[in-house]
Amino acid sequence: MMTGNILLLLGVLQTLPISQALYEDQIGKFDWHQQYVGKITDMFWDQSFNAGKRVLVSSERHVLASVHSHNGSLAWRKVLEDGPRGRIDKTLHSGNLLVTLTGGGRFVRKWNAGSGLADWEVSLPGSKSGRADLVQCGRDLLAVMIQDAVYGLDPRSGRQKWSVALPQSNQVVYTHLFTSGTNLFVIGQSLGQQVTRVTVDMEGVVRSTESVKAPWLSESTQCEVTNGGVLICYRSEDQSLQTLTLTDGQVFKSTSLQILGLEPSEEVSMETVRKVEEPLIFLRTAKNHMALLELTNDGVKLKKDLPSICAAQVVSLDDKSMLFTLERIPGELKMKVYDLETGSEMADLYQTITYLPQHGYPQRIEVLMFKKRDLRLGCRFAILSEDYSMQMVLKAERDGSPGKIAWRREEALAYVLSVEMIDLPVSENQAKYEDEFGSHKDDIATMFMKRFKTQISQLKTYIQQQLQKLQGHRHHHHDTEAMAESGSDDDDEDLTRDEFNLNKLIVLVTGAGKVFGVRSTNGHIEWEHFFPELAPFDGNNQQKLLLFVQRTTAHFPNPPQCTVVGKHKGTGNGFLFSFNPISGEPVDTPPTGQVLNYRITQTSMLGELDDHFLRGILLMDPDNQIHVFPGKCLSVLKKTFGSQYMFVADRETGFIKGYRTVPNQGKFLMENVWTVNLQKKQQTITQVVGKRPLEQVHSQGRVLGDRSVLYRYLNPNLVVVVTEGEFIEQSQRGGVFNTINLYLLDSVTGHMVFHCSHKRAKGPITVVHSENWVVYNYFNQKSRRLEMAVLELYEGKEQSNSTAFSSFSSPRQPLVLRQSYIMPLFISTMATTVTEKGITSKQIIFALKLGGLLALPKALLDPRRPLVPTQETMEEGTIPYIPELPVNAEAIINYNQSLYNVQGIHTSPAGLESTSLVLSYGLDLYFTRVQPSKMFDVLKEDFDYFFISAVLLGMFVVTIATQKLSARRALSRAWK
């Protein structure tokens, strides 16, 4: 018995493909990794020993990084803490000093700009209001302001020199810290009342506290402090600027925009000028209108109106101040430079730069001025654009040809919200074959001609290929300049399908409003579109942009088609963009996207394809009316409306409502047919997870140890609804605990198939819902650990309907097997692998907070794992129950390529049944492929073809020889 146990245990462990590590030479062969920093908020040219060679950036995704200026690669990158603790309040860079203030004044860190290592870190109490500021005062003092105090730190060691409490810190919100001469000024605001100015000297002694009346201060008032010590506030209510000189001003001086001759608009913002001593500030009234203002004792003076300018900067070199301006004209950027003193244009610095329209307007430039060897002025500059991209111009224009973008970083890729992997189209020749079968009208003669032509062209390409082989490989020049000009950095082969359909085109939809087509082979961008007005749907802190595949590549000659569904930024109405995912060309919608005249409350896809294999999208508006996109699919809805159901989960009320489609006066309306009340008083709906549409499930059941079959409950309409809430413990100790509830709902009938709750458990919860199982994780507050629960649904030993599933006639209470496991590591998200036919066993991929992607076989998360293995369970092949899930280093599929802030993992089938493609997105993009059951359908690379053919040949020879021999023997026997 014991022996049997061990034998079977070993057998089970052997069949489990837990390890699937790479060989060293396979690194980067099937996978690629792209690191991003997110939307850049601050940018400085490195002034330490790498002066001019690197750009230091900090981003809203809590990243501090150094970017090589020659190619845009990261010299180093520091990803700070998640959540509000890691938010960068201020980055300060001057000379060798690089200091960040993060987490609302909680941490001050000094970094080594060259290596990215932290020199010192100081922890401060932090600010309740979240406002904090940091300034450098001379060489020996860093001053940090948090809500109720100012601290003086030694920039060399971080040692605290002094601290001073700020007066009335419970009434006044301190917002700005400024240094001028030998004094520090702290500016506090009391809405509707006054501005408080606290003067502190360099020794940390409060010199004076004054308040200046400012009854106009409101939530929407923006204030900045300029060099020269002037506080300037913009009031959007009456479009006026209020200025106050910090050193001696007693009252605010008001100047209205109209007096300055500027057109007021909704989106006025201010950008401070730091590189010169004069009190100057930029005022932006539109995306392409700026103005340079000078602040004097009498108020605001217009220094220079900059109409049609979208980005500007004042730079000084050798006591000479220059104003750099960028203007966008179709296809190009015009850079003009003015001498700030005289106001005249410096013609020798004028240049034009090729600029692609898909980056929107440039928003900021950061210029580095230098003197060339011939003492002429030169400059290089980085441009930040509306689409979150960062671009670098190194070389000035020469010989009349426009200047070029040396490189660009598409930081929008750190905001991916939706992913689809699209099959590449078949090659031209194969397409011609398909064409032959596609049309039914041709007679025999034309069909013969077509076939003949196709075969001739095949022969031609074959000969061409052979000739090319003889000539040797053409050399590809990777010219960076050509790259920028063409807008695409690929000159490798066309987008055609490979033998095993492993290479795909990945469509990425980002929260920045940018849509990308990316090659899965190397991660290069094939095409991109930018929609400044596209915004994600926003609910419960979850951003969503929907991406629908309306037609796949399989329906030649009809091109594939995808559609992005989002929200229009200004009006909140629906926003659609439909395109061919391979070429990126718009289809059915204008190239700038289509704004609908209604809001979208729910979307779904039609169950049937139209005559051209297009799957329509159903859009539901707040009046429960149904719209079909594109309009030509309406005929499909007319035929199939009886089977179109939708449901809407309302987070505000806790109700989930199911709808069916009914025709009404030529339109289609959604009629509420079922309602579920999830008791908003106690809990909030946080997740609604359906299955992947058109999921392939190979096996209908599971063979048990006694050779009977347990049939799976495969309900395609099943959705998992997760709610989180709090409950009050009624025991003697009392206290408030979190609770999570899970509901499995049939979205057609509204039947609650299963519901369970976890007490003393907390989110965030990730749900993986596939086939007949649900895996979810939660934090157990009692045991203080992460747990992974699995539910598996079975119909039982008999199947209700083996051909089709109907929600109306299916068993209402399937068998729900459930078990829970301890997850030893914290995860940020998880996903399951999918394969072409669903035969390959599944893996679950966890994105660990540590940076790894851990792939575990689904067999480890099986509720049928027995505590005590018996003969029968061993026959079934279940692993004995161990509460903790195993984590071994070989199951980390991204080896040492750590991934930070993973937001999601997308998996997609490849043409090979054994292989599943994985893309993890978040701050980084990482693409790889996994083989959950190893490569059972491909010969190994080291397969011995020679040996096999030799054996075959040998057998053949032996067969013939023995045949001869036996014939001779039979003959001789017959003679006897």
Binding site: T653, F655, H755, S757, I822
Partner: protein, 212 residues
């Protein structure tokens, strides 16, 4: 626990149904559901009245138009119209199963109604022109939110302890040679190595057809 029982020993819920089609159907009382305890999974249904001939005609019309028969249940205090949970089933299913239906009511752990659903024996459509049964045969079943699974560390530790004890017992009396003691470990390892070696080649041969 206090949550599972109701004041007065039982709780009554009013079940309403509708034979109307259209966006604003009107509901009439179908019957009462009497619950003793949510835990018991059983509830009793008392019908108010058999189907009137008017309702029967409406039901036949619904079935003919392939429309739906609706049910609803009041939740909470019932002060606003939003406080209903509703469900439906194809009307012809009701007729083909001879007015026998099965109602599920789902409760949460505090005893609030979350959802309701309706099941008929069959959802196939039959010709209902000479249908004349008027008595409902309704049964009600109740489910309550269960406690989710949690890792079973306790019994696993017990199992480990038991195994350790057994091993300790075994060790005291074992004085055999190395091979005699560990043959059961060695044989399977050798076997598996042999099998897996053979398996690879078999797999290779099989895949040869699609070869690269």
């Amino acid at each position: 626990m206090a949550d599972d029982e109701f004041e007065g020993g039982s709780r009554t819920l009013v079940l309403e149904h509708s034979f109307d089609s259209g966006l604003n159907p009107s509901f009439t009382k179908k019957g009462m559901v009497v619950l003793k305890s949510v835990k018991g999974n059983r509830a009793f249904f008392s019908s108010v009245a058999p189907l009137t001939s008017d309702e029967l005609e409406k039901l036949k019309m619904l079935a003919k138009k392939n429309d739906i028969y609706r049910l609803r249940l009041q939740t909470g205090s019932g002060s606003s119209g939003e406080d209903y949970v509703t469900t439906y089933t194809p009307a012809c299913g009701i007729m083909s199963s001879n007015l026998s239906d099965h109602v599920w009511i789902q409760f949460d752990q505090t005893g609030e109604v979350m959802g309701i659903s309706l099941e008929t024996a069959t959802s196939q459509c039959v010709n209902g022109d000479n249908f004349s049964i008027q008595d409902w045969n309704t049964s009600v079943e109740v489910t309550q939110t269960l406690l989710g699974p949690s890792p079973d560390t306790q019994s696993y530790i017990e199992k480990l302890k038991r195994e350790e004890q057994e091993r300790a017992k075994g060790q005291t009396e074992d004085k055999r040679s190395f091979l005699a003691k560990y043959w059961m470990y060695i044989v399977p390892v050798v076997l598996i190595m042999m099998l897996s070696g053979g398996g690879d080649q078999q797999g290779g041969g099989g895949g040869g057809g699609g070869g690269q």
